[in-house]
Every structure is written in structure tokens, then in C-alpha cells.
Symmetry: C4
Subunit: 169 residues, 4 copies
Amino acid sequence: MNTLAQFKTIKTLLFDVDGVLTNSHLLILENGALLRQMNTRDGYAIKKAMQEGFEVFIITGGKSEGVLKRLEGLGIPRSNIYAGVQQKIEVWKELQEHFQWNPKEVLYMGDDFPDYEIMQQVGMPCCPSDAIHEIKALCQYISPIKGGEGCARDVIEKVLKLNDKWGDM
Amino acid sequence: MNTLAQFKTIKTLLFDVDGVLTNSHLLILENGALLRQMNTRDGYAIKKAMQEGFEVFIITGGKSEGVLKRLEGLGIPRSNIYAGVQQKIEVWKELQEHFQWNPKEVLYMGDDFPDYEIMQQVGMPCCPSDAIHEIKALCQYISPIKGGEGCARDVIEKVLKLNDKWGDM
Amino acid sequence: MNTLAQFKTIKTLLFDVDGVLTNSHLLILENGALLRQMNTRDGYAIKKAMQEGFEVFIITGGKSEGVLKRLEGLGIPRSNIYAGVQQKIEVWKELQEHFQWNPKEVLYMGDDFPDYEIMQQVGMPCCPSDAIHEIKALCQYISPIKGGEGCARDVIEKVLKLNDKWGDM
Amino acid sequence: MNTLAQFKTIKTLLFDVDGVLTNSHLLILENGALLRQMNTRDGYAIKKAMQEGFEVFIITGGKSEGVLKRLEGLGIPRSNIYAGVQQKIEVWKELQEHFQWNPKEVLYMGDDFPDYEIMQQVGMPCCPSDAIHEIKALCQYISPIKGGEGCARDVIEKVLKLNDKWGDM
């Protein structure tokens, strides 16, 4: 099956946060609070995907309150957001058993070490252009776009267009 | 009519906000508040255009209070700012009917999906260098500058210079 | 006199702020407050220049309280900071008359329209790499560095090194 | 001894902050507060290095409370953080005498003037790609990555991989 056919098959989209929906920059306030940087284009695409009936899940080692509020603000149900996760592979097993996902229909976008095992399980592992090389080596698709710069939109747009659901523009 | 002649004809300037007057970055505070990034060069040019008698309007799907304050701070009348717009084409119809604009005299700068229909109506559709390719395909002018990096100044400077109103420098 | 000889002659350093000591990015908070971006390398160099006996002045159209506090924090006397200036050429006339500066000993770094006239007066007009082209056209030296990325350090380092005052590294 | 062999020998990692763990950008709030930018990838690597038994020290001329909180948040003991340091070489002498470090086993990553002397003492002086050229000239290794963009991770990853401690991925 070629890459386009694989994108067309996707029904469920899983995203890591740090380095995927954010870039790797942290702004440090004097009180120690941290600001993260996300992208409006990813936000638009995530909303669009959910409107068109795709399932979106977040699996992240982080637990930034601001990021979680932003993700909920986009309409991702709180129950679809797994934050502060130590072992992502355990979340995968739990979800896969519960929803009986066909791995071929699941896309995961990650960029770093903690994403490695789960990306071996899904049918469509994807990463941003600045993922670590070990992650790149196992991906079906490497986006030309960096983390936090719209890489999630890139894959969502592909899935929706191939299903004639991106819009009639 | 060539591109320079078209720029010279412009009397009214319409701008989208996200991806045009801002880049697509969102900084996320821990309380969920969002910071957007704009550009001092666009601000200077927008003020200059209004001083020289050009009309400036904002038509945006967003409704960030901070951005609206910044735009009002530049001197754009509140009545010229359309925020939280769902269908930009409806705002166009309303404004065009009210002001009896000649489309040839109107420039619109947009970058994404929701700008598509309105950009088919104005005489001079323009976009930043990082607009989506569907938008680029219908533009009379693609700025070499990205959204939030001074792309609005780029088109304003062209319009004013061709009308001998950019300054006597 | 060649460029290096000109740098060696400088005793007084004048800087614009927006686009020189800052880049052109503005971060917009929801309450309308604006954040500007400066550079630690410029800060180090400005302090060093003053320690070594060079005079540093700021002449800016802006009046951001945060930027003024940062500049005072670097040790620039409040009396050397001219903020909210409408006509920079008037400040030049006043200062030049008061201090009887030899224009050949004065460097000014600016990037945009409002800097044009004053840069015609000083002996050593300089600009960052992303200055507007009209400013570039009248500069003795165009730094390879952008505004807010260390362009002030670039010129200060040249002046001090040619006077054997940059350090014995 | 070649560069890889040198990396393998390292037991202790010393880092400057400004320009190494941060980039040189400063965001200025209206009240004069400063925000600095760090990188999540450096954070991950620093934690990993300490878990694997390497010693991490911070030696910085700065004294940003926010940065110190972030570094402590990564698990670096407060007693390993030297902030507000005027003469880094003095801290080196004190630490080296106290711990009886073999300089060959110590890596220091710095980028600027105040790092010069200490970098002449350690066995493995390293710098980010945007260090000043005098620093680059004395480094055993110049990272291809800029300060604040993950240059610390780059060297930590090399040290740990050569010691088979980066993970079994």
C-alpha cells in the first residue's frame, strides 16, 4: 500500500504535544512559569478533522495547564487527552483494547524518544521534519514542516483531502 | 492591466489578521491565555496609509481582545474592524453594497481557506509568501514576505509609492 | 578614509530602538500590552562600550516602558535616552550644539524612514541587514546581522577592537 | 585522542546559560521583566544525563530567577548552580580543587567572552554554532546547533551514546 493509500485509510489521529503541536522553545517567566508555542494552522485543522468525524487523541508526557486548556478550547474532549504519561505504549494498549482500533486506521505523530514504542504499533507513524533521526527512521511519512510550525495540519490535510472532506475550495 | 497599474488603482485595503498581520504562532500562558505576534513595520504602514487618505478594514474570524486593541491603537476605527466573522463573503457583500466600492479599487490580503471566496471578488487579491497554495493560485500578487513579518507593509508601500504618497525620502 | 578607519574614529554611539535594538516582532497580550524582543549580546556590548569611555545615546520614536527600563538597567543614563521623539533631526541638532560633537566621531544605527535625516548628518551611518533599502543606500556600513539579533554588538565590537578596548582575549 | 574518544571520557558537564541553554533573545514586558527562551530538548537530555550518573553544573553570569527555577525543576541541585558569577575561572579553580576533577573528564559549553578562560582549562571545550569566533577557535567541538536550540542535548547525547547510556532505542 503506498503512502497516499495509507493516509486515505486513517480514521483516528494521535498526537504528541512537545515538539509536534509545540516547537521545542520554552519561554521562561521570572516566577518560573513556562510559555509554550503552538500554531494556529494546526488548531484549524484539528477542529476541521473532528467536525468531519475523525477521532483526535493527545498522548503527552507533559502536563502544561495552558496547553491542555488550548487543546480543550479546540474541542478535543478531556477524555481524549492523556497528559503526564510516563509510558505511552501502555496508553496505546489500553485504548486499542477499548476501541478495538485497527492499527492500519491509526496515525500517530511524534518526534522523540518517548514516542518510539507506540510508533512501532500504529499503521501510520509520522513525524515533523525536526524529529530525532531514530524516529525519522521508522516513519511512513516525514512532514517537510517542523514541530509547532504546522506539521499536524500537514498530515490532517492529507487525510481529509484524500477522503474529500477538506472542503470544496 | 499590469500588476503595478493595479496597485496604483487601489483606494481601499482589507486585511485578514491570523497569518497575515500575525504569524501563525501562538504563545500559550499557563492560564490558557494566548499571545499573538504582530509586526511593527505593518503597524507603521497601516498608520501611514490612513493618514494619506486610504481606507483600511479588518475582516477576521478571530476575536482576540489584544489584537483588536492593537489595531485600534494604530487608529483603525472600531467600525472598520469585523472580528469573529464566520462568512467573510457576507461582510464583503454588506460593505460593497454600502460603500459602492469598485472592486478594482479594493485590495484584500489573506492566507487561508476562509479568505478564498472574498478574494475571488476583490480586484487585487494578495497573500503572504506562506499562504496555502490554493490561495496563492488566485492571487494577483504574492508577497515575498511571510505573514506577521511585514507582508502588509509590502503591499501598502507599493500602493502608496505608486501614488507618490509614501514620503519624499 | 576607509570603513575601518572610520570605525576607529568613533567616540559616540547613537541607536534607534525598534528594528535595531529590537526586532520588528510585537507580542500581543490579551489586555493589549505589547512585548518587544531585544538581544543579550547587544546588552553586553553596550555596557562594555560605556565602561571603556564611549558615550551611548538612544533616540527612538517609541516609548515602551519595558524597553526604557531595560536600557536603564544596562546603565545608560536616563538623560541619554530620548524616547517618543517625533523628529529625530531636532534631537540631533540639540545634542550636536550642546556637546559640539564632530560628526566624524558619531555613529548612528537606524533601520527605517524616521532615521533618514539624522543618518545624513552623522559621519558613520550604519544599519542592520534588514533595514529598508533607502536606509541601506546611505549607510557607510551595513551589518550582516538583523535588527534585534546583535547588530549593535557588531558595530560596537568593531569600534572597540580598533581602539584595543574590546578585551585581551 | 580523537573527538569521539574525548566525548566518551567525559564524566562531568558544565554549562553556561545565556547563549547556550538560552538563545540570545530577551522578551521585554512593560514592567521591565525579562523572559528568556530555553529548549525542551536540552531539558530532557540534562535530566537523562543526571539519571545516568553524570554530574551537571551551571556556571553563569546571569541571575534570572525564572531560569534558576527551571534548572532546579530539571533536578539540578541548587548547590551545582553558580549564578551571578563575575569570574568563571575562579569558580573553576574552587570546584576543581574541591572535586579533584581530571580536566580530561570535564566538558564545558560556552559561547562568549566570559567563558574564554575556563574553556582553556577543561579537556573538552564545546560551543554552539553561533558562539563568537574567538570561542569557536579554541573549541574541540563546535555543535551544528545554535544556543537555545538544543546544542546542550547535542553534546550530552554524544557523551551518553558513546557510553551506551542514551537508551536502547
